[in-house]
Amino acid sequence: MATTRFLSKGLNYLALAAVCLFFMFPMYWMLKGSLETAPELLSAHLLPGSISSEAFRELIGQASFRQYFFNSATVAIASTIVSTTCAVLAGYGLARFKFPGKAAMSRGVLFCYMFPSLALSIPLFNIFYSIRLGNTLFGLMLTHVTLSLPFGIWLMWQYFQTIPSAFRENAALLGAGRFRTFLEVELPLARSGLIAVAIFAFALSWEEYEFAFVLITSEASKTLPIGMTQFVTRDYVVWNMIMAAGITMAVPAFLLISFLQKYLVAGFTSGGLKG
């Protein structure tokens, strides 16, 4: 009995190690590749021969990389602001007002979200050109807003429902109007929900590939995920630079989402976060 227990414990730890290895290895490979020189990387040894910052220095030296990075940051910050604002307003509207078609509407928002970005971006390409949003960061920003909006609305809706109506009634007694009550009493109480929505909005926009891939054709408006994949076709020898670009992309997203682990479950099960 004791031996079987010991054995099964041992097997468990072995499995745990294998799982960690599987999920860590590609990350390790990216980091290792970014710290090597190009010829070293091509030899594919498991351990890095030497560590150098050559790839990062070369990457930052490229004007196109700085442009992609700037574009990505602009779009991500702008879509975070727009998405959070829209989500807060809509979530509040859903939590505080009763109106016909509410259930159908909340379901409709999720419904639209089921459609592939690529199939939306194909017709959107023509629409954006005809309303002069083609190749603009503003147009791309609007598409990125819809990535975080369903989950954002859902989460804010839930947050506003947890705020007791006594707060609102007191504010009304003191003479505050509906909007002032919302802004000065209820919104601060829902702050942690708002922060979660904002971080998700940023992370989802930061890594978005499909809309940017189809809608942006000019070099000046390309974002980092599109730009970095072009290093591959342009020049086959710069794998260390590509890995370095991967690291610069992964780090911000990584830091942000790791704060929000507990919201991931809610996002996944509500269907409001694509995975």
Binding site: W29, W239, S258
Partner: protein, 323 residues
């Protein structure tokens, strides 16, 4: 929170008989007022969703009835001609078939890896917290970055997998994983398993943590062994969670563009081309915009049916009541 009809919102109105006649008008008026008050709050969100999601869908339906290429401004009415062309094209059927096959297969693999990993991480093992963090890693890595590192690792010239296999003597020649008939699909599956299994693990782990410990204790007292406890306590509790995961994952995997595209470009030939990749090729590489739009409409229709089933099983507005 129940469904909101105007009647439920104003309980005073619910007295039967007496106010039936006046009630009809009052109800309509109230619902108009209700809509007018709530409109400004919802409008910004609805406008953007309308522009980015509803607009393109309607536009695609319209465009799919015409023949149009990217360089001309002429629209030639062909009615349902584009759909006819699609249904008769072997390429369409192979893309649709591969799309469904890839979605089903990858979800099966994700479950086959994800469920045991979740059960393992639920055990009381040392280093469990760290391991949970590590399993979350792939979700946080941007997909484009992840696709590129897999492309590097699976390369036949400087890829680490071939390097290991050759130096162990298991294969004589490096295999071009992403470019070979036999390996393109398995290679894509490995990459997508890495990236999206965390979804399965996170959701199942969260559900496992809510199962009452007393249920297991009861089963133990009754003399159930470990396997019986798993079959009779764990599995039934996971059932609805698993259903949800299967549906969501099938939809998301069916929609994937960037991973198969960045890894294999839909090749070799068109073997790993799913519907999103095919639609992209038709519209932008073959310049048949009408046909591309028809493809989008077909995708919308397929997902609409699937999503209807999903939302009738999982009601988003009911979820809120639970919390």
């Amino acid at each position: 929170m129940a469904l909101h009809s105007a009647r439920e919102s104003y309980p005073g109105q619910n007295t039967p008989g007496l106010r039936d006649q006046a009630g009809g008008r009052g109800k309509a008026l109230r619902s108009i007022i209700g809509t007018a008050i709530v409109a400004p709050w919802l409008l910004p969100a609805l406008l953007i969703i309308g522009l980015v999601q509803i607009g393109p869908m309607l536009y695609a339906i319209w465009l799919s009835l015409y023949e149009k290429d990217a360089f001309s401004f002429t629209w030639d009415w062909v009615g349902l001609g584009n759909y006819e062309t699609l249904l008769q094209s072997a390429e369409f059927w192979s893309a649709a078939g591969f799309g469904v096959w890839f979605a089903v297969l990858s979800v099966v693999v994700q479950l086959a890896v994800g469920v045991p990993v979740a059960l393992l991480l639920h055990q009381n093992l040392r280093g469990r917290g760290l391991a949970r963090g590590i399993v979350l890693l792939p979700y946080m890595v941007p997909t484009a970055a992840m696709a590129l590192v897999f492309a590097l690792m699976m390369s036949d010239i400087y890829g680490v997998f071939d390097h290991i296999l050759v130096s162990l003597g298991l294969i004589d020649e490096p295999i071009p994983f992403l470019g070979s008939h036999a390996w393109a699909l398995p290679a894509t599956l490995v990459a997508s398993t890495w990236k999206w299994t965390p979804f399965v693990v996170i959701v199942i782990l969260a559900r496992l943590q809510t199962i009452e410990v007393s249920l297991y204790e009861c089963a133990k007292v009754e003399g159930a062994n470990a396997f019986q406890r798993f079959r009779d306590v764990t599995l039934p509790s996971l059932r609805s969670t698993l259903l949800l995961i299967v549906m969501l994952r099938c939809i998301w995997m069916f929609n994937k563009f960037e991973v198969p595209y960045l890894l294999t470009k839909g090749g070799p030939g068109s073997e790993t081309t799913n519907l999103p990749i095919y639609a992209y090729k038709v519209t932008f590489l073959q310049n048949q915009q009408g046909l591309g739009a028809a493809l989008c409409v077909v995708m919308f229709a397929m997902l609409f049916i699937f999503a209807s089933i999903y939302t009738s099983i999982v009601k988003p507005e009911k979820e809120i009541e639970v919390e």
